[in-house]
């Protein structure tokens, strides 16, 4: 016991009770009870049987007893098997042994809060920075911006809502499969036609910009290719949204621009062909769209209307089969 005490400069004995705050420099071992905050520049150890009812702020905190309050450490927090913590833990490193009972929020990432001993000015500056800083671990990083109201918490599956609320750093789950609403879909975004969705769709669906113009051959990089181009193509407004947009999940519009089969004679197509957008998009010297050409397989070209699995890269970055 003496060597243990030697490491900690200050000790509160097992029968000790502090009704008030403890602050200052040095280490502190709590074997008794502290009803108040503990703000130190050194280490704080809550021994088994120790109790702190208040916030502990220190360089390093080890809890083997009970703490009802927050733990804020500059260095690290360690909660051993006999420790019980009911409060939030904010520290760059946290170690929780098996058997510990912890209830509260955990925050390891982000800017560390300055220790209170440095004064209220630092705390204010930190709060301002934290409020203005961009979210580093946003689940939607890298994806096009979605209008906030489109993402209602109730609409998400339960686990997603928990992730948003949680302070933990978790790897973002892949987005749920995105099913296009009928009759109106442009690029990304749950709110079709939203400003963000518009910008994405413009980048991803260049062919619809040529309203009324010639169909130029474009390298398709994915995105929305569901616009039905019949004749001169559907009228598109300034944002590239087509009033007659058709969902590209429909089988008639599936054929990709690039041939995905090895060159060679293709089996004859079956049934009637719906208006094929593919030849128009390829810009080759094709028969006018709308006229099926079943008996003329061109090497490297797929027959119209034949339903083939295509992988369209949706605006959200995932694949739709």
């Amino acid at each position: 016991m003496n060597e243990e005490r030697g490491r900690m400069s200050s000790v509160l004995g097992p029968t000790g009770l502090v009704l008030g705050n403890v602050q200052g420099q040095g280490d502190f071992e709590v074997r008794g009870r502290v009803q108040g905050d503990v703000v130190l520049s050194g280490r704080v150890l809550v021994a088994p049987g120790g109790l702190v009812l208040g916030t502990i702020e220190a360089q390093q905190i080890t809890v083997s007893g009970t703490v009802r309050g927050d733990l804020i450490a500059e260095d690290g927090v360690e909660i051993t098997g006999s420790g019980q913590v009911e409060g939030n833990v904010s520290s760059p490193r946290v170690a929780i042994e098996a058997g510990a009972k912890v209830r509260g929020h955990l925050r390891t990432g982000g800017e560390e809060a300055p220790a209170a001993v440095r004064g209220g000015k630092d705390l204010l500056a930190f709060a301002e920075r934290a409020a203005n800083a961009p979210e580093p671990d946003s689940l939607t990083a890298g994806l096009p911006a979605i209008p906030r109201d489109a993402l209602s918490r109730d609409a998400l599956p339960r686990r997603d809502a928990e992730l948003i609320d949680s302070d933990e750093e978790v790897a973002p789950e892949p987005m749920r499969p995105f099913t296009a609403p009928p009759g109106g879909l442009r690029g990304g975004g749950l709110s079709g036609g939203g400003a963000a969705g518009r910008s994405v769709s413009e980048a991803a669906a260049p062919e619809t910009r040529a309203s009324g113009g010639k169909k130029r051959r474009r390298r398709r990089r994915g995105g929305d290719r569901g616009a039905s181009i019949e004749g001169s193509g559907p009228e598109t407004d300034a944002s590239g949204t087509s009033a007659q947009h058709q969902d590209d999940a429909r089988p008639e519009f599936l054929p990709p621009a690039r041939p995905t089969r090895p060159s060679g004679p293709l089996p004859p197509t079956e049934g009637t062909q719906a208006s094929p957008p593919a030849p128009a998009r390829q810009g080759r010297d094709e028969p006018t769209p709308g006229r099926p050409t079943p008996g003329r397989p061109t090497p490297g070209r797929k027959a119209h209307g034949k339903k083939l699995p295509t992988f369209v890269k949706g605006a959200r970055g995932h694949l739709r089969g």
């Binding site: 003496n2 005490r5 400069s9 200050s10 000790v11 509160l12 004995g13 097992p14 029968t15 000790g16 009770l17 502090v18 009704l19 008030g20 705050n21 403890v22 602050q23 200052g24 420099q25 040095g26 502190f28 008794g32 108040g36 130190l40």
Partner: protein
């Protein structure tokens, strides 16, 4: 070795109560109560009453000192308050201002 040690640099903004011995080298902005010995080191400072079985003061006390057994004011002590104890010693170099009551030390 005291059960509770408040080393210099530590500030207790409140009352400190224990049933074992205390050694204080820091600051206590409140009462110090013990049923055992209380040792106030040279750098210590207590801003309210001190109560114990044996109280030895070498620092600053701004309050009364009650002891059930004895009070010792060592050299360097600065006590501004009353003393109630059955036995009292004031060393050379101690500074003391207050009343002394040695009749009944139990309070």
């Amino acid at each position: 070795m005291a059960d509770t040690v408040i080393s210099s640099g530590l500030i207790i903004d409140g009352n400190l109560k224990t049933e074992a011995s205390i050694r204080i080298d820091g600051q206590v902005l409140g009462r110090v109560q013990s049923t055992a010995g209380v040792e106030l080191g040279p750098a210590s400072s207590v801003s309210a009453d001190v109560q114990g079985q044996r109280v030895s003061v070498a620092g600053t006390v701004l309050g009364n000192v009650h002891a059930t057994e004895r009070v010792d004011l060592l050299s360097g002590a600065r006590l501004t308050g009353d003393v109630r104890a059955p036995r009292l010693t004031i060393a050379d170099g101690a500074s003391f201002r207050g009343k002394v009551d040695m009749e009944s030390g139990h309070e």
